[in-house]
Symmetry: C2
Subunit: 184 residues, 2 copies
DNA sequence: TAGCCTAGAGAACGCTCGTTCTCTCGGGCA
DNA sequence: TGCCCGAGAGAACGAGCGTTCTCTAGGCTA
Protein backbone atom coordinates (compact mmCIF):
# COMPACT_ATOMS: atom_id res chain seq x y z
CA UNK A 1 0.00 0.00 0.00
CA UNK A 2 1.20 3.47 -0.81
CA UNK A 3 2.39 5.62 2.02
CA UNK A 4 -0.30 8.21 1.39
CA UNK A 5 -2.94 5.53 1.45
CA UNK A 6 -1.68 4.11 4.72
CA UNK A 7 -1.76 7.59 6.21
CA UNK A 8 -5.28 8.21 4.97
CA UNK A 9 -6.58 4.95 6.39
CA UNK A 10 -5.12 5.68 9.81
CA UNK A 11 -6.10 9.35 9.78
CA UNK A 12 -9.63 8.49 8.65
CA UNK A 13 -10.14 6.22 11.60
CA UNK A 14 -8.60 8.62 14.12
CA UNK A 15 -10.12 11.86 12.85
CA UNK A 16 -13.61 10.43 12.70
CA UNK A 17 -13.44 8.66 16.05
CA UNK A 18 -11.78 11.28 18.20
CA UNK A 19 -12.20 14.47 16.20
CA UNK A 20 -9.61 16.32 14.16
CA UNK A 21 -8.16 18.55 16.84
CA UNK A 22 -7.81 15.75 19.35
CA UNK A 23 -5.55 13.85 16.97
CA UNK A 24 -1.99 15.05 16.52
CA UNK A 25 0.25 14.45 13.56
CA UNK A 26 2.29 12.21 15.82
CA UNK A 27 -0.77 10.04 16.47
CA UNK A 28 -1.21 9.67 12.72
CA UNK A 29 2.44 8.74 12.40
CA UNK A 30 2.16 6.11 15.13
CA UNK A 31 -1.04 4.61 13.75
CA UNK A 32 0.11 4.54 10.14
CA UNK A 33 3.72 3.56 10.68
CA UNK A 34 4.78 6.29 8.27
CA UNK A 35 7.54 8.57 9.50
CA UNK A 36 6.80 12.23 10.12
CA UNK A 37 9.16 13.27 7.37
CA UNK A 38 7.40 11.17 4.78
CA UNK A 39 4.02 12.14 6.16
CA UNK A 40 4.85 15.78 5.48
CA UNK A 41 6.09 14.85 2.02
CA UNK A 42 2.70 13.33 1.22
CA UNK A 43 0.64 16.06 2.92
CA UNK A 44 2.39 19.38 3.41
CA UNK A 45 0.26 20.37 6.39
CA UNK A 46 -2.33 19.00 8.73
CA UNK A 47 -4.97 21.01 6.91
CA UNK A 48 -4.06 19.27 3.65
CA UNK A 49 -4.35 15.91 5.39
CA UNK A 50 -7.74 16.86 6.78
CA UNK A 51 -8.99 17.90 3.36
CA UNK A 52 -7.75 14.62 1.86
CA UNK A 53 -9.40 12.71 4.69
CA UNK A 54 -12.72 14.42 4.01
CA UNK A 55 -12.47 13.83 0.26
CA UNK A 56 -11.79 10.15 0.82
CA UNK A 57 -14.61 9.95 3.31
CA UNK A 58 -16.98 11.64 0.85
CA UNK A 59 -16.16 9.09 -1.81
CA UNK A 60 -16.54 6.08 0.45
CA UNK A 61 -19.63 7.33 2.26
CA UNK A 62 -21.46 8.18 -0.96
CA UNK A 63 -20.44 4.85 -2.53
CA UNK A 64 -21.72 2.91 0.44
CA UNK A 65 -25.02 4.76 0.40
CA UNK A 66 -25.49 4.48 -3.34
CA UNK A 67 -24.56 0.82 -3.65
CA UNK A 68 -26.93 -0.03 -0.83
CA UNK A 69 -29.81 2.05 -2.19
CA UNK A 70 -29.54 1.06 -5.83
CA UNK A 71 -30.35 -2.58 -5.17
CA UNK A 72 -33.66 -1.74 -3.53
CA UNK A 73 -36.98 -1.10 -5.22
CA UNK A 74 -38.16 1.85 -3.09
CA UNK A 75 -35.06 3.96 -3.10
CA UNK A 76 -36.07 6.85 -0.88
CA UNK A 77 -37.06 4.43 1.89
CA UNK A 78 -33.79 2.58 1.37
CA UNK A 79 -31.82 5.74 2.16
CA UNK A 80 -33.24 5.86 5.66
CA UNK A 81 -32.86 2.12 6.20
CA UNK A 82 -29.19 2.56 5.31
CA UNK A 83 -29.00 5.46 7.75
CA UNK A 84 -30.46 3.33 10.52
CA UNK A 85 -27.83 0.64 9.93
CA UNK A 86 -25.09 3.26 9.90
CA UNK A 87 -26.33 4.82 13.14
CA UNK A 88 -26.18 1.40 14.76
CA UNK A 89 -22.52 0.82 13.99
CA UNK A 90 -20.22 0.76 16.99
CA UNK A 91 -18.05 3.62 15.90
CA UNK A 92 -20.85 5.92 14.70
CA UNK A 93 -20.02 9.45 15.79
CA UNK A 94 -22.30 11.59 13.65
CA UNK A 95 -21.51 13.20 10.32
CA UNK A 96 -17.77 13.53 9.88
CA UNK A 97 -18.30 16.57 7.70
CA UNK A 98 -20.53 18.46 10.10
CA UNK A 99 -18.14 17.63 12.94
CA UNK A 100 -15.17 18.83 10.92
CA UNK A 101 -17.08 21.98 10.04
CA UNK A 102 -17.78 22.66 13.68
CA UNK A 103 -14.16 22.08 14.61
CA UNK A 104 -12.41 23.84 11.76
CA UNK A 105 -14.98 25.74 9.72
CA UNK A 106 -14.16 28.98 11.48
CA UNK A 107 -10.46 28.71 10.70
CA UNK A 108 -10.20 26.87 7.40
CA UNK A 109 -11.77 27.91 4.13
CA UNK A 110 -10.62 24.66 2.55
CA UNK A 111 -12.53 22.57 5.07
CA UNK A 112 -15.65 24.67 4.58
CA UNK A 113 -15.37 24.14 0.86
CA UNK A 114 -14.96 20.37 0.95
CA UNK A 115 -17.90 20.03 3.34
CA UNK A 116 -20.04 22.16 1.06
CA UNK A 117 -19.05 20.01 -1.90
CA UNK A 118 -19.99 16.84 -0.05
CA UNK A 119 -23.42 18.15 0.86
CA UNK A 120 -23.93 19.32 -2.72
CA UNK A 121 -23.04 15.85 -4.03
CA UNK A 122 -25.50 14.30 -1.64
CA UNK A 123 -28.14 16.82 -2.68
CA UNK A 124 -27.53 15.99 -6.33
CA UNK A 125 -27.90 12.28 -5.70
CA UNK A 126 -31.10 12.80 -3.73
CA UNK A 127 -32.42 14.97 -6.53
CA UNK A 128 -32.07 11.99 -8.85
CA UNK A 129 -34.06 9.85 -6.46
CA UNK A 130 -36.68 12.58 -6.15
CA UNK A 131 -37.09 12.84 -9.89
CA UNK A 132 -37.26 9.07 -10.20
CA UNK A 133 -39.97 8.98 -7.55
CA UNK A 134 -42.06 11.30 -9.69
CA UNK A 135 -41.83 14.50 -7.68
CA UNK A 136 -43.37 17.52 -9.33
CA UNK A 137 -40.52 19.64 -7.96
CA UNK A 138 -37.48 17.39 -7.57
CA UNK A 139 -35.31 20.22 -6.22
CA UNK A 140 -37.72 20.83 -3.39
CA UNK A 141 -38.00 17.16 -2.50
CA UNK A 142 -34.23 16.74 -2.71
CA UNK A 143 -33.75 19.62 -0.28
CA UNK A 144 -36.28 18.06 2.07
CA UNK A 145 -34.56 14.69 1.92
CA UNK A 146 -31.19 16.33 2.54
CA UNK A 147 -32.57 18.14 5.57
CA UNK A 148 -34.01 14.89 6.88
CA UNK A 149 -30.75 12.98 6.40
CA UNK A 150 -28.65 15.63 8.11
CA UNK A 151 -31.19 16.18 10.85
CA UNK A 152 -31.46 12.49 11.63
CA UNK A 153 -27.67 12.21 11.73
CA UNK A 154 -27.31 15.11 14.15
CA UNK A 155 -30.10 13.80 16.35
CA UNK A 156 -28.58 10.31 16.35
CA UNK A 157 -25.17 11.68 17.27
CA UNK A 158 -26.40 13.71 20.21
CA UNK A 159 -28.64 10.94 21.49
CA UNK A 160 -27.26 7.55 20.40
CA UNK A 161 -29.94 5.65 22.33
CA UNK A 162 -32.59 7.25 20.14
CA UNK A 163 -30.67 6.84 16.90
CA UNK A 164 -32.93 4.18 15.40
CA UNK A 165 -36.00 6.17 16.39
CA UNK A 166 -34.62 9.24 14.64
CA UNK A 167 -33.85 7.28 11.48
CA UNK A 168 -37.31 5.76 11.34
CA UNK A 169 -39.06 9.04 12.10
CA UNK A 170 -37.05 10.68 9.32
CA UNK A 171 -37.94 7.83 6.97
CA UNK A 172 -41.64 8.29 7.62
CA UNK A 173 -41.37 12.04 7.18
CA UNK A 174 -39.59 11.38 3.90
CA UNK A 175 -42.44 9.15 2.78
CA UNK A 176 -44.92 11.88 3.60
CA UNK A 177 -42.83 14.40 1.69
CA UNK A 178 -42.69 12.08 -1.34
CA UNK A 179 -46.45 11.66 -1.24
CA UNK A 180 -46.97 15.40 -1.05
CA UNK A 181 -44.44 16.00 -3.83
CA UNK A 182 -46.18 13.60 -6.20
CA UNK A 183 -49.66 14.95 -5.49
CA UNK A 184 -48.83 18.49 -6.54
CA UNK B 1 -24.40 44.13 35.74
CA UNK B 2 -22.85 41.28 37.64
CA UNK B 3 -19.39 40.20 36.68
CA UNK B 4 -20.58 36.70 35.76
CA UNK B 5 -23.27 38.19 33.55
CA UNK B 6 -20.79 40.48 31.78
CA UNK B 7 -18.57 37.48 31.16
CA UNK B 8 -21.44 35.41 29.82
CA UNK B 9 -22.58 38.13 27.44
CA UNK B 10 -19.10 38.52 26.01
CA UNK B 11 -18.38 34.79 25.92
CA UNK B 12 -21.73 34.06 24.29
CA UNK B 13 -20.96 36.43 21.45
CA UNK B 14 -17.39 35.19 20.98
CA UNK B 15 -18.01 31.46 21.39
CA UNK B 16 -20.91 31.43 18.96
CA UNK B 17 -19.25 33.64 16.36
CA UNK B 18 -15.76 32.17 16.29
CA UNK B 19 -16.17 28.79 17.94
CA UNK B 20 -15.14 27.77 21.43
CA UNK B 21 -11.60 26.66 20.75
CA UNK B 22 -10.75 29.71 18.72
CA UNK B 23 -11.57 31.97 21.67
CA UNK B 24 -9.12 32.12 24.54
CA UNK B 25 -9.86 33.08 28.11
CA UNK B 26 -7.86 36.22 27.45
CA UNK B 27 -10.23 37.15 24.62
CA UNK B 28 -13.13 36.77 27.03
CA UNK B 29 -11.30 38.94 29.54
CA UNK B 30 -10.68 41.63 26.95
CA UNK B 31 -14.24 41.60 25.62
CA UNK B 32 -15.90 41.54 29.03
CA UNK B 33 -13.58 43.89 30.87
CA UNK B 34 -13.46 41.43 33.75
CA UNK B 35 -10.00 40.57 35.03
CA UNK B 36 -8.68 37.03 34.63
CA UNK B 37 -8.60 36.54 38.39
CA UNK B 38 -12.25 37.40 38.78
CA UNK B 39 -13.15 35.45 35.68
CA UNK B 40 -11.70 32.33 37.26
CA UNK B 41 -13.54 33.14 40.49
CA UNK B 42 -16.84 33.14 38.60
CA UNK B 43 -16.03 30.14 36.41
CA UNK B 44 -13.32 27.82 37.70
CA UNK B 45 -12.36 26.56 34.26
CA UNK B 46 -13.01 27.20 30.62
CA UNK B 47 -15.19 24.11 30.51
CA UNK B 48 -17.39 25.54 33.24
CA UNK B 49 -17.68 28.77 31.28
CA UNK B 50 -18.62 26.85 28.14
CA UNK B 51 -21.31 24.92 29.99
CA UNK B 52 -22.71 28.15 31.42
CA UNK B 53 -22.62 29.71 27.95
CA UNK B 54 -24.59 26.80 26.52
CA UNK B 55 -27.12 26.87 29.34
CA UNK B 56 -27.68 30.57 28.85
CA UNK B 57 -27.96 30.09 25.12
CA UNK B 58 -30.49 27.30 25.60
CA UNK B 59 -32.66 29.52 27.73
CA UNK B 60 -32.54 32.49 25.37
CA UNK B 61 -32.86 30.47 22.18
CA UNK B 62 -35.88 28.53 23.44
CA UNK B 63 -37.49 31.71 24.79
CA UNK B 64 -37.08 33.44 21.47
CA UNK B 65 -38.57 30.52 19.58
CA UNK B 66 -41.47 30.05 21.97
CA UNK B 67 -42.42 33.69 22.28
CA UNK B 68 -42.41 34.02 18.50
CA UNK B 69 -44.40 30.84 17.90
CA UNK B 70 -47.00 31.31 20.61
CA UNK B 71 -48.44 34.43 19.05
CA UNK B 72 -49.21 32.67 15.77
CA UNK B 73 -52.23 30.58 14.92
CA UNK B 74 -50.50 27.77 13.00
CA UNK B 75 -47.71 27.01 15.37
CA UNK B 76 -45.81 24.32 13.50
CA UNK B 77 -45.51 26.57 10.47
CA UNK B 78 -44.43 29.40 12.73
CA UNK B 79 -41.45 27.36 13.92
CA UNK B 80 -40.02 27.26 10.43
CA UNK B 81 -40.79 30.89 9.73
CA UNK B 82 -38.84 31.73 12.87
CA UNK B 83 -36.01 29.51 11.65
CA UNK B 84 -35.91 31.34 8.34
CA UNK B 85 -35.62 34.68 10.11
CA UNK B 86 -32.86 33.30 12.34
CA UNK B 87 -30.94 31.92 9.37
CA UNK B 88 -31.06 35.34 7.78
CA UNK B 89 -29.41 37.13 10.68
CA UNK B 90 -25.94 38.48 10.01
CA UNK B 91 -24.20 36.50 12.67
CA UNK B 92 -25.95 33.19 12.03
CA UNK B 93 -23.36 30.41 12.29
CA UNK B 94 -25.48 27.29 12.69
CA UNK B 95 -26.56 25.61 15.88
CA UNK B 96 -24.30 26.64 18.75
CA UNK B 97 -24.96 23.32 20.44
CA UNK B 98 -24.11 21.13 17.49
CA UNK B 99 -20.99 23.20 16.88
CA UNK B 100 -19.94 22.89 20.50
CA UNK B 101 -20.60 19.17 20.36
CA UNK B 102 -18.39 18.81 17.31
CA UNK B 103 -15.65 20.85 18.92
CA UNK B 104 -15.74 19.47 22.45
CA UNK B 105 -18.04 16.47 22.53
CA UNK B 106 -15.14 14.06 22.27
CA UNK B 107 -13.36 15.58 25.25
CA UNK B 108 -16.08 16.88 27.56
CA UNK B 109 -18.87 14.83 29.07
CA UNK B 110 -20.37 17.99 30.51
CA UNK B 111 -20.73 19.58 27.09
CA UNK B 112 -22.32 16.43 25.69
CA UNK B 113 -24.78 16.46 28.54
CA UNK B 114 -25.86 20.07 28.18
CA UNK B 115 -26.31 19.64 24.42
CA UNK B 116 -28.42 16.55 25.00
CA UNK B 117 -30.54 18.45 27.51
CA UNK B 118 -31.11 21.29 25.06
CA UNK B 119 -32.25 18.94 22.32
CA UNK B 120 -34.51 17.15 24.78
CA UNK B 121 -36.08 20.45 25.80
CA UNK B 122 -36.67 21.31 22.18
CA UNK B 123 -38.16 17.86 21.58
CA UNK B 124 -40.49 18.30 24.54
CA UNK B 125 -41.69 21.65 23.27
CA UNK B 126 -42.27 20.30 19.78
CA UNK B 127 -44.17 17.38 21.28
CA UNK B 128 -46.58 19.89 22.79
CA UNK B 129 -47.10 21.48 19.38
CA UNK B 130 -47.59 18.04 17.83
CA UNK B 131 -50.25 17.09 20.34
CA UNK B 132 -51.94 20.44 19.90
CA UNK B 133 -51.99 19.90 16.13
CA UNK B 134 -53.89 16.67 16.68
CA UNK B 135 -51.21 14.13 15.83
CA UNK B 136 -52.19 10.53 16.48
CA UNK B 137 -48.64 9.87 17.67
CA UNK B 138 -47.23 13.13 19.04
CA UNK B 139 -43.87 11.55 19.92
CA UNK B 140 -43.33 10.53 16.33
CA UNK B 141 -44.30 13.92 14.95
CA UNK B 142 -42.14 15.66 17.55
CA UNK B 143 -39.15 13.57 16.52
CA UNK B 144 -39.82 14.41 12.88
CA UNK B 145 -40.04 18.12 13.63
CA UNK B 146 -36.84 17.97 15.65
CA UNK B 147 -35.05 16.25 12.79
CA UNK B 148 -36.33 18.89 10.37
CA UNK B 149 -35.25 21.78 12.61
CA UNK B 150 -31.76 20.39 13.15
CA UNK B 151 -31.37 19.35 9.53
CA UNK B 152 -32.41 22.75 8.22
CA UNK B 153 -29.99 24.43 10.63
CA UNK B 154 -27.06 22.28 9.53
CA UNK B 155 -27.90 22.77 5.88
CA UNK B 156 -28.22 26.52 6.35
CA UNK B 157 -24.89 26.69 8.14
CA UNK B 158 -22.98 24.80 5.48
CA UNK B 159 -24.61 26.69 2.65
CA UNK B 160 -25.69 30.14 3.84
CA UNK B 161 -26.87 31.17 0.38
CA UNK B 162 -29.45 28.40 0.46
CA UNK B 163 -30.51 29.01 4.04
CA UNK B 164 -33.96 30.36 3.26
CA UNK B 165 -34.55 27.54 0.78
CA UNK B 166 -33.68 25.00 3.44
CA UNK B 167 -36.00 26.61 5.98
CA UNK B 168 -38.92 26.70 3.55
CA UNK B 169 -38.33 23.14 2.34
CA UNK B 170 -38.25 21.97 5.94
CA UNK B 171 -41.44 23.89 6.66
CA UNK B 172 -43.27 22.20 3.79
CA UNK B 173 -41.96 18.80 4.86
CA UNK B 174 -43.23 19.57 8.35
CA UNK B 175 -46.67 20.40 6.95
CA UNK B 176 -46.71 17.08 5.11
CA UNK B 177 -45.68 15.28 8.28
CA UNK B 178 -48.46 16.99 10.23
CA UNK B 179 -51.00 15.98 7.61
CA UNK B 180 -49.81 12.39 7.69
CA UNK B 181 -49.79 12.36 11.50
CA UNK B 182 -53.39 13.55 11.73
CA UNK B 183 -54.67 11.12 9.12
CA UNK B 184 -53.52 7.98 10.98
C1' DT C 1 36.02 -1.32 0.27
C1' DA C 2 34.99 3.58 0.46
C1' DG C 3 31.90 7.22 -0.22
C1' DC C 4 27.41 9.11 -0.92
C1' DC C 5 22.58 9.37 -0.72
C1' DT C 6 18.26 8.38 1.44
C1' DA C 7 15.12 7.52 5.03
C1' DG C 8 13.70 7.05 9.63
C1' DA C 9 13.68 8.21 14.62
C1' DG C 10 13.01 11.45 17.50
C1' DA C 11 14.77 15.77 19.50
C1' DA C 12 14.00 20.54 19.08
C1' DC C 13 11.64 24.85 18.18
C1' DG C 14 8.07 28.10 18.37
C1' DC C 15 3.53 29.19 19.16
C1' DT C 16 -0.94 29.05 21.48
C1' DC C 17 -3.46 28.91 25.46
C1' DG C 18 -5.36 27.42 30.07
C1' DT C 19 -4.18 28.41 34.52
C1' DT C 20 -1.63 30.47 38.34
C1' DC C 21 1.41 33.75 40.54
C1' DT C 22 3.36 38.22 41.67
C1' DC C 23 3.55 42.92 42.16
C1' DT C 24 1.51 47.14 42.75
C1' DC C 25 -1.98 50.33 43.90
C1' DG C 26 -5.93 52.23 46.12
C1' DG C 27 -9.45 52.47 49.47
C1' DG C 28 -11.44 51.62 53.95
C1' DC C 29 -10.88 51.36 58.90
C1' DA C 30 -8.71 52.09 63.50
C1' DT D 1 -2.04 58.94 59.36
C1' DG D 2 -0.74 54.30 58.97
C1' DC D 3 -1.95 49.61 58.03
C1' DC D 4 -4.30 45.89 55.81
C1' DC D 5 -7.09 43.79 52.48
C1' DG D 6 -8.64 43.03 47.97
C1' DA D 7 -8.51 43.65 43.23
C1' DG D 8 -6.49 44.28 38.75
C1' DA D 9 -2.76 43.94 35.30
C1' DG D 10 -0.01 41.22 33.27
C1' DA D 11 4.02 38.17 33.58
C1' DA D 12 5.02 33.42 34.12
C1' DC D 13 4.52 28.56 33.77
C1' DG D 14 3.54 24.24 31.69
C1' DA D 15 1.39 21.42 28.44
C1' DG D 16 0.12 20.27 23.72
C1' DC D 17 1.12 20.25 19.12
C1' DG D 18 2.36 21.57 14.19
C1' DT D 19 6.46 21.74 11.86
C1' DT D 20 11.41 21.40 11.07
C1' DC D 21 16.05 19.88 11.98
C1' DT D 22 19.73 16.68 13.22
C1' DC D 23 21.92 12.52 13.68
C1' DT D 24 22.62 7.95 12.53
C1' DA D 25 22.44 3.76 9.98
C1' DG D 26 22.08 1.14 5.94
C1' DG D 27 22.28 0.17 1.19
C1' DC D 28 23.85 1.11 -3.46
C1' DT D 29 27.56 2.31 -6.75
C1' DA D 30 32.23 2.89 -8.49
Amino acid sequence: MEHAERVLVAAGELFYRRGVRAVGMDDVRAASGVSLKRLYQCFPSKEALVVAYLERRDERWMSSLISSVEERPVKVAAVFEWLERWFGEDDFRGCGFVNAYGELGSTSEAVQEVVRRHKQRLRDYLRGLAAEAGAADPDLLAEQLLVLVDGATVTAMVNPLGAATAARAAGRAAAAAVTAACRE
